[in-house]
């Protein structure tokens, strides 16, 4: 694709992303989403972000791999435990990287 075609593609993707982000902010005051929608909302980021994350932790070259050949699985477990206990972003990301480098070095 030419640079111009790529930039037009970015623009289309950007406008769509913006429309999604603007959607309910624009509608506020004109339209009230139904109660079930509000109840379901908190599950959206949990489900979407976990769906993006889990294959990164569990799969190696498209196959589920939970042995010592997959340091990302173990480092991910460390990060999940740290996040659950301390609920601290910096500590979670830092310990995840530290665990990955440690397991890469050991395994």
């Amino acid at each position: 694709m030419s640079q111009t075609a790529l930039l037009l593609l970015w623009l289309a993707c950007g406008l769509l992303t913006f429309a999604i982000r603007y959607s309910f902010i624009a509608l506020e005051g004109h339209y009230r989403p139904p109660a079930w929608f509000i109840r379901w909302l908190p599950f959206v980021p949990i489900a979407a972000l976990t769906a993006i994350t889990m294959p990164e932790l569990l799969l190696v070259a498209g196959q589920v791999e939970l042995g010592f050949t997959n340091p990302r699985f173990w480092a991910g477990l460390v990060a999940i435990a740290v996040a659950a206990i301390w609920k601290n972003t910096l500590l979670t990301i830092g310990s995840g990287f530290a665990a990955l480098w440690l397991f890469n070095w050991i395994l």
Partner: protein
Amino acid sequence: MTPASAFLLGVRALLPMMLGVAPFGVIYGVVALQSGIPPLAAFLMSSLVFAGSAQFLLAQLVGVGAPALLMVGAVGLINLRHALYSASVAPVLAHLPRRWKLLLSYLLTDEAYAAAIPHLLAEPRSPQAHWILFGSGFALWFGWQLSTLAGVLVGSQLPADLGLDFALPLTFIAIVVPLIDSRARLIAALVAGAVAVLLVALPYKTGLFAAALAGLAAGAFIQGRKAT
């Protein structure tokens, strides 16, 4: 709370997340160049699209020569979760002029939302609350531009065994795990994760969307049963 103090509160709340966002931005730059995207276009995607995981996916799809319409659709699907953030912050922004709503919509990302929302919920009636979201959103935007620029310029010289692409899962773990405070939410996460792994072979990551819907339905079902 003054606008300046609210803005700084938002910036400070976002800063810890930069530890995950910055390496991810660098990796995005590397992946974009490897996919054959020219450096300028790779950098401009960060302001035109401005969505980390979608940019990553889009760069990879350009690399494999996917049809343009499918690429736009894939970006839409992966960013659909931002509609939730939009609905969530809409009441806080209701009183603002349109230019504020447009600006804050453009800046509404996973990280900015996760950083700002505890403060927005704590001060829902503050007339300056939108400055908190602006602080978080602007800090993330600025950090993302810098880190993707660094990735485009020098990323190819970094050793590959640092595993910097691990930053995305780690950032999402840091956002999601503290949100899981009930059995229904735990089940939503487990079902979404399991379905995503099962459907990973589907083309163009369409399995992600099915997985997110399955997790959402499972969580809502468990919560609904408890309520009745």
